[in-house]
Amino acid sequence: MIPLFFSPFLELLLAFSLTMALVLAYFAIVQRDLVKAAVLSAGQSIAYAFAYYLLAAPDILFAYIPIAVGIYTVLLLYAISKTERFEEG
């Protein structure tokens, strides 16, 4: 049984989702292959969307998920297909 004085479930879930966002953001920025970087940044947006739900902000959730996961990723993939794929230096 979970002891009654240990109930920071919301804080634990929030800390977990923000840590996932930190790890995915770090890997997105140091990645040389831009397609993988775009997909990792979409994953980081999903972690943020989970955090917005836990912080009781449904309006922002409805605006953030299609923009960050749908529109940013697609814009980046179109731009990568019209320019270069790998980053040097």
């Binding site: 449904p58 309006d59 959730l61 409805f62 605006a63 299609p66 923009i67 749908g70 529109i71 697609v74 814009l75 179109y78 019209k82």
Partner: protein, 270 residues
């Protein structure tokens, strides 16, 4: 070398700022309590916004001018993008003609096309529902426009861009719909000012409900009921107009991005 210096300085700044760390408190600021108390207060209708949702009533009634300027910034960004990728319609038609003989079966496989037809209808229905209920539940114009923008994107990927264009979703159609939405927003925001001609003197721009503490006779406000339906004054009109604007703006960006590079290379004369 430069990267290590940048990282070191940033770490120092982060640790220094971390000393002023913040944890949430049990009380809210007085401004937040004012907005939460007055957005649907039927006992003291001096300051109400006729909507049970505090965020939408703040976006379009209490801080409506912020949203109007934000729509202006969005409009300017779309205009800049369209100007960077400009072309003449006659050139596009001649390009399509010249490529007609080389055209083979376009789009993805049959399974993808059938599923895309289903999800297109579902996405459009969901976005219209979110736009129309923006004043009662979480949602509104921006959210619905962003969700709507995913549907033409799927159609362009599964069918081809030429197929979608023959359905009538061209650059000029999207520009026309966006201009209609923007003119509707401007008109609704200015109707209280135009009512000065009818003899009302206590009017405000972007006014939703009557303000009994203004100069009399003051603007009577937009209707809140329509039988059993709860319209929230201007909120439903603003949400629908903003939905049209945002959805057509995003669709325009995707139509411009799906033009092939060969077309622009010929346009720039290389």
């Amino acid at each position: 070398m430069a990267s290590t210096i940048v990282l070191f300085v940033l770490t120092l700044v982060s640790v220094a700022l971390g000393a002023t760390a913040f944890t949430p408190s049990l009380d809210l600021r007085p401004l937040a309590e004012f907005y939460l108390e007055n957005c649907l207060n039927q006992f003291n209708k001096d300051l109400w916004a006729a909507s049970p949702e505090a965020v939408t009533s703040m976006l379009w009634d209490y801080r409506g001018l912020d949203t109007v300027y934000e729509t202006t910034v969005f409009f300017l960004a779309i205009i800049g993008s369209v100007a960077a990728f400009r072309f003449g319609e006659a050139f596009l038609r001649s390009y399509e003609e010249s490529k007609r003989k080389q055209r083979r079966e376009e789009g993805l496989s049959l399974i993808v096309k059938v599923i895309t037809r289903l999800t297109f209808v579902l996405i459009v229905a969901l976005s219209i529902a979110i736009a129309l209920h923006g004043h009662l539940t979480p949602g509104g114009g921006f959210q619905a426009g962003s969700i709507f923008a995913v549907a033409p994107l799927l159609a362009i990927a599964a069918f081809s861009r030429r197929f979608v264009e023959e359905f009538g979703l061209t650059k000029n159609t999207c520009l026309a719909i966006r201009t209609t939405g923007l003119i509707t927003i401007a008109l609704i925001a200015l109707i209280p000012l135009l009512s000065i001609a009818l003899g009302f003197t206590g009017v405000f721009i972007i006014q939703n409900q009557p303000k009994p503490w203004a100069l009399q006779p003051s603007f009577p406000g937009f209707p809140v009921y329509l039988g059993p339906i709860w319209l929230a004054g201007t909120l439903i009109l603003f949400n629908v107009a903003e939905f049209l604007t945002v959805a057509s703006g995003f669709t325009l960006l995707f139509i411009l991005l799906s033009l092939p590079e060969d077309f622009f290379r010929r346009l720039m004369g290389k």
